[in-house]
């Protein structure tokens, strides 16, 4: 079970920037919408929903249910600079599989925030007793893919011309998986 008592918590990027991580709350709708408006169109083309419409973000804020979707925001002051979500199924055959999605503001890319957000999601996945974390990326998103691999995710699939952007062009989809073992509980195992 994930306890959210650890939030809000501060993290420090390599360049010294200090950010606050905390779960999204209903009052964050405007902040999150501002954040998505700063994401360049070439990135929003890959989104599953049209975040250019404020109603979409407001709907997310109004229907928060952390057991299904836990959005963790990275804030600099009052401004959202990163958004990571852990998607879970409460029952069924994928209840031990979590899916993570991460977005980083353009001015915070290549500063280690993406890696820090993966690290945070990995921690939450372990605490939620999941067996796997799954991430998907368009093949062009090479730095994100490398960051996932550095954090222990393995490429388990490549679907050719599998997804289309909002202009209708097709792209290859890379599927990455982080295994947390059969029990879902990490153990400290090393020679005495």
């Amino acid at each position: 079970m994930i306890t959210l008592e650890r939030y809000p918590r501060e993290i420090t990027l390599r360049d010294g920037a200090r950010l606050t991580l905390r779960p999204m709350v209903r009052e964050d709708a405007d902040r999150l919408w501002d954040f998505f408006r700063r994401i360049p169109p070439e990135d929003t083309m890959y989104f599953r929903e049209d975040v250019g419409r404020k109603k979409v973000v407001e709907r997310w804020a109004e229907n928060l249910e952390y057991d299904s979707v836990l959005p963790v925001l990275a804030l600099e002051g009052d401004s959202v600079v990163g958004d990571a979500t852990l998607h879970r199924n409460k029952s069924g055959w994928k209840q031990r599989v979590g899916t993570i999605r991460i977005q980083i503001a353009p001015d915070f890319r290549h500063r280690g925030l993406g890696t820090a957000m993966i690290r945070e999601m990995r921690h939450l996945g372990e605490k939620a007793a999941l067996h796997y974390l799954l991430a998907e990326a368009i093949e062009e998103q090479q730095s994100a893919i490398r960051a996932f691999e550095k954090m222990g995710f393995e490429r388990v699939g490549l679907y050719l011309n599998f997804v289309n952007d909002q202009k209708g062009r097709f792209h290859n989809l890379v599927v990455l998986l982080y295994s947390m073992g059969d029990s879902g509980q990490a153990t400290l195992s090393f020679p005495p």
Binding site: E120, G152, L188
Partner: protein
């Protein structure tokens, strides 16, 4: 732990001129380094770091120079890398920035990496 990592990271065993003795010494240094991380982890709630440390010990076992594996160096490198990841996870848990050995490269007379990408 950070300093310990760097002493090994910039050690002679990773250079072209490394001898068998250098590699054997590195193996034992990495083993002690990982055990030191393990001692810290025992008091922390960082399950992902524990998993990384477990992988580090697996790689270390595969890199035992006595086993005369042709990939021993690569496995030792992996062991150190997983150990680094565990340290970074501990730092993240404390709200501190990740460790970058290249910030201390000048103390070890090491060559800067020409390109580094981070997400």
């Amino acid at each position: 732990m950070r300093a310990g990592h760097d002493r090994i990271y910039f050690g002679k065993w990773r250079k072209m001129t490394a001898t068998t003795l250098d590699i054997r010494r590195a193996y034992h240094q990495i083993e002690r380094h990982l055990k030191a991380i393990g001692e810290v982890l025992e008091t922390k709630d960082r399950p992902a770091a524990r998993r990384d440390l477990g992988k580090a010990f697996e790689a270390l076992a595969a890199g035992d120079p006595d086993a005369e594996s042709s990939d021993a160096l690569r496995f030792l490198d992996h062991a150190l890398s997983y150990g680094h990841n565990a340290i970074d996870d501990l730092l993240h848990g404390e709200g501190l920035p990740p460790h970058d050995p290249m910030e201390f490269a000048k103390w070890y007379d090491a060559v800067e990496v020409p390109f580094k990408e981070e997400w």
